[in-house]
């Protein structure tokens, strides 16, 4: 399996990359880590005529934070994120999720931005972005803008980005106080795409009552699914078995997964239910400390 022909460009900085992207119109494609793009090029499911390699854009390889926001550059390798103490301390959900992406050999190369813009419905990073409603910073030659994750993912492998735009960095809110999070997934084999994945982050008040909660599931719909009802169902209360059961039932009732070779819709629904209970419970226990 060999890719079709393409022209190759290696811009030195962001303005050059964006101008190349602008001039190549619909025929241009950015390559970062290439761990999703190159397989589909080798299979000729994608045949971009012009490949713009941003691996040399060191300005887009960073991890920083201020008091409220964690900022990660789009070219940061997944392995760098996985081993970052800063991220672990301030947004442990990311650390936990990244460990599930592919394998050591693909995380060494794969980037944060690449995985997010690829927008596979069962991928880990889009799910985390949705769970925490991160912000995506996007640039074209003439404009920079930011979009919330809730508005970014449109459908299978499709985002709000235009062909002349590129993701430059992602921002995640840093939660303070008694915060706990959990990421779990079920896959056929370790490192495979998840059949279903679930992510939860919550905050407790001084009396162990949930004051805020975000819950999202991957692999059940065309885009990561935010369970907006979670806060209504659980906020203001301590977590009981009955409450856990209720939120799991609500999730099971609201997902409409599809059957495929790997799992039936009924099985995926069951996984969504079970994983919901597990992540909410684990996040709660972690927040209690």
């Amino acid at each position: 399996m060999k890719p079709a022909k393409f022209d190759y460009y290696r811009p030195k900085d962001l303005p050059e990359a964006l101008s190349l992207l602008e001039s190549s119109g619909f025929d241009g494609k950015i390559i970062a880590g290439g761990q999703s793009l190159v397989p589909i090029m080798n299979m000729r499911l994608a045949t971009p005529e012009c490949l713009i390699d941003i691996n040399g854009l060191q300005d887009l390889n960073f991890i920083e934070s201020d008091d409220h926001v964690l900022k990660i550059g789009t070219m940061t390798r997944q392995n760098t994120v996985e081993t970052s103490q800063l991220i672990k301390d301030q947004c442990g959900l990311v650390t936990e999720a990244v460990a599930h992406i592919g394998h050591l050999q693909t995380r060494n190369r794969g980037t944060i931005g690449g995985s997010i813009v690829h927008a596979d419905p069962s991928a880990e990073l889009p799910l985390v972005m949705m769970a925490l409603n991160g912000t995506l910073h996007i640039s074209s030659e003439d404009e920079t803008r930011s979009v919330n994750a809730e508005d970014f993912f449109l459908t299978f492998l499709t985002t709000d980005m235009m062909p002349n735009e590129m993701l430059t960095e992602v921002h995640l809110p840093i939660w303070k106080g008694r915060v706990g999070s959990s990421f779990q997934e079920i896959a056929r084999r370790h490192g495979d795409f998840a059949l279903v994945a679930a992510a939860c982050q919550l905050e407790l008040d001084a009396h162990d009552r949930i004051s805020d909660i975000r819950l999202a599931l991957g692999g059940v719909e065309a885009i990561p699914l935010l369970i907006g009802d979670a806060k209504e169902l659980l906020a203001g209360e301590r977590l009981t078995d009955a409450a856990l059961q209720k939120v799991a039932d609500v999730v099971a009732g609201s997902v409409e997964p599809e059957s495929d070779l790997h799992a039936s819709a009924a099985y995926r629904t069951q996984l969504a239910k079970v994983l919901t209970a597990r992540v909410v419970h684990q996040a709660y226990e972690r927040a209690k400390g």
């Binding site: 022909k5 290439g34 691996n55 394998h103």
Partner: protein, 163 residues
């Protein structure tokens, strides 16, 4: 057909070659440089046979274009042995029956070499997680896991003896 010149160091030797942008690094290593120790199984990032080390990190060479390796330092399985002496990991693969047909072996050796550098005392679970990036159709992985575990023990003994 437009060609691009690249300069790559493989196992300490400099190569300057003209390549088509679409040439995979795995093909460059095997066909242009004649280093056939790196194997190619699936060519879409699933089997791990093509794993090499680029700037010290284990990566799949079928998911990188040769042009992207310009000015990079690459190590393949041929570069592991030093003056004809196999590494401890390689010797333990022989001793623990870590290979049968050997098709997957080069890739696994490259991954585990990187893995043990970053994590010198891994648990069995961590070893298995790393091996999940490699398909072996012969061994059932048991011998491979034992070879890695033995290497970890040998390294530990060596550290103890030195201290």
């Amino acid at each position: 057909m437009s060609l691009t010149e690249i300069n790559v160091t493989i196992n300490g030797k400099a190569y300057a070659e003209w390549v088509e942008p679409r040439m995979l690094l795995s093909d460059f290593i095997r066909e242009t440089c004649g280093l056939t120790g790196t194997h190619v199984g699936c060519e879409h990032g699933v089997c791990g046979a093509c794993t090499i080390s680029m700037d010290g990190a284990a990566v799949r060479s079928c998911l990188i274009f040769a042009v992207q390796a310009d000015n990079r330092e690459i190590k393949t399985v041929e570069g592991l042995a030093c003056n004809g002496e196999m590494t401890a990991l390689q010797k333990n693969f022989v001793e623990c029956h870590g290979l049968q047909c050997g098709f997957c072996t080069a890739g696994i050796l490259m991954s585990i070499t990187d893995f043990l550098e970053k994590n010198p005392q891994p648990s069995t679970k961590e070893i298995k997680e790393t091996l999940s990036g490699h398909l072996c159709r012969c061994t059932g992985y048991d011998g491979i896991v034992k070879a890695v575990q033995k290497t970890v023990q040998d390294n530990q003994k060596e550290v103890l003896q030195r201290s």
